[in-house]
């Protein structure tokens, strides 16, 4: 496939971008969660 | 005169008096903008090019100087907590907004006159009678927009350490339409690249819309913004 690099790159950026965001988000949230017990979280 | 206008006049007078006595704009900001104009010439290194892009350079210099002027305008307020005192005294925030914007506008107009003169001298720009009328109108309308946006976002970025660096990031994207409109008008005024002076007048419409929108919305948004 011609230009495969760019096409693949686009999808890596897309999925990788979302994954990186999610991982960073969960890492931060996990740290905060150790301080706030589940009883005090309104969505649980 | 309504209370809001009275407040505005008092604050504008205060800001201008502070400037008159300290001469910060004349001694620091004007030289800075002149320097920017000279640096442009160094960077572009070509008389033909600088003559062609002179309008853009003038308004870029205005934008950069605006950031400095706004920081100065609020440094005056936050030095002794003056803005907080003003706010808590129950004064109409719209009055404060208009007052500071008017003072800022006066300083901007002086700046633009000087920069246009410098463009004629440094970049060999030329300007006729109709061009001058066009430029003056553009400068006036653009200044209303610049002063409104500067006062508004300056209020947000005022005071607390670390916020001043935010000001250019917030303000410059918003001012893109003013840059585009004012530059096109000035191109016509200077007759750059055979552009007819008459081509410039429609761009005033853009500047006018911007000016109206941001002066009106600015007055409303100012209260919540400085309400700390």
């Amino acid at each position: 496939m011609k230009d495969l690099g760019f096409i693949l790159g686009s999808w890596i950026v897309t999925i990788g971008g979302m994954a990186t965001f999610a991982v960073a988000m969960f890492r931060r949230a996990r740290r905060d969660a150790t301080v706030v017990p589940p009883e005090e979280r309104p969505w649980l | 005169m309504t209370p809001t206008l009275r407040v505005a006049r008092a604050i504008a007078a205060k800001d201008l008096r502070v400037e008159w006595r300290s001469r910060v704009v004349t001694n620091q900001v004007l030289p800075f903008s002149a320097l920017v104009m000279v640096l442009f010439a160094f960077a572009l290194d070509d008389d033909g090019i600088t003559e062609r892009v002179a309008p853009g350079l003038v308004w870029l210099a205005v934008l950069f100087s605006l950031v400095v002027l706004v920081s100065r305008s609020y440094a005056v307020e936050t030095a002794d907590g003056a803005l907080d005192q003003l706010r808590s005294s129950g004064v109409e925030p719209a009055g404060i907004f208009f007052g500071k914007a008017i003072a800022l506008a006066v300083q901007l107009l002086v700046l633009q006159a000087v920069l246009a003169g410098l463009a004629v001298v440094l970049y060999r720009a030329s300007i006729g009678a109709e061009g001058l009328a066009l430029f003056a109108s553009a400068a006036l309308l653009a200044t209303v927009g610049l002063a409104s946006v500067g006062t508004l976002y300056g209020g947000l970025a005022a005071g607390v350490r670390g916020r001043e660096t935010l000001l250019p990031l917030l303000v410059l994207p918003v001012l893109a339409p003013v840059l585009i409109g004012a530059t096109r008008c000035t191109e016509s005024a200077f007759g750059v690249e055979g552009v007819e002076t008459s081509d410039g007048w429609p761009w005033l419409g853009l500047l006018a819309i911007f000016a109206v929108l941001f002066s009106v919305f600015g007055a409303f948004a100012y209260g919540p913004l400085i309400d700390e």
Partner: protein, 256 residues
């Protein structure tokens, strides 16, 4: 402290759902499955385009990304208005605005990068100053500025008020920027650069595009839900962090 007593809190932490609920778990699985489905279709199942060739495969990520970014910013503006409007000034609206803006910036970045790569294939350049692209770039910078303002500090309500006003001003500013850039561009008549980008989409390609929009929307919802809860956790920690730390120290002192 021996190993066994130290392990219990760690195990508990690992089992802690943090910001997850059953709904988000189901949604998360759906998103993952959808993304795989989309990827497979984009790369293997759909044909190349008559005009664009293989580069159309990027469109299945680029177009949904752009749409979701705009949706995200609309949600941010709406939540900001809700925060300012309600007498109760609920911080949930503020956190929703913030979370949506973050995800919006993410999707906008994805959209800009994929669009740039697509342009590189189709037009040979990574960037062109056409009206849509330029306005998109401005939108991106504006919301980066918004996120910077959110990080300024101060009380939660100060943050909420500042960013709410900013979000509403952004909604005012974007059409102005778009309008001026379009006018500016009309001077240059660079329409020819756009070339023939018409995609005569057959049914399968249209379906894949639609699938892309659906999958991206689900991903947006999943990301925003989690991020909003994460922000809530952050705010709770801010409010009570010191008290909890003191309590924990006291409990330690009492038990030792």
């Amino acid at each position: 402290m021996t190993d066994s007593t130290a392990q219990k809190p760690r195990e508990a932490a690992r089992r802690d759902p943090v910001t997850g609920t059953r709904f988000t778990r189901v949604l998360g699985v759906a998103c993952l499955a959808g993304l795989v489905w989309l990827f497979v279709f984009a790369f293997f199942v759909t044909p190349a385009d008559v005009n664009q060739g293989e580069s159309v495969r990027i469109m299945y990520a680029h177009v949904p990304g752009a749409w979701l970014a705009y949706l995200a910013f609309v949600v941010t503006a709406f939540s900001s208005a809700m925060y300012l409007w309600r007498r109760t000034r609920s911080l949930t609206w503020d956190r929703l605005a913030g979370a949506s803006a973050e995800v919006g910036v993410l999707f906008m970045a994805i959209s800009l990068v994929t669009g740039s790569l697509w342009g590189r294939i189709t037009w040979g350049t990574f960037w062109t100053w056409d009206a849509r692209l330029t306005t998109t770039a401005f939108l991106f910078i504006t919301y980066v500025g918004y996120l910077a303002v959110r990080g300024l500090g101060g009380s939660h309500h100060q943050r909420a008020r500042r960013s709410a006003v900013l979000a509403l001003l952004a909604v005012l500013e974007i059409p102005l920027v778009h309008f001026s850039v379009v006018l500016w561009n009309s001077l240059h008549q660079e329409a020819s650069v756009a070339g023939n980008t018409d995609v005569t989409m057959d049914g399968l390609m249209l379906f894949t595009l639609f699938l892309g929009v659906v999958v991206f929307t689900l991903s947006y919802v999943w990301l925003v839900l989690h991020r909003q809860r994460a922000l809530h956790l952050r705010d709770l920690v801010d409010e009570t962090g010191l008290d909890r730390a003191l309590e924990a120290r006291r409990a330690e002192a009492a038990s030792s």
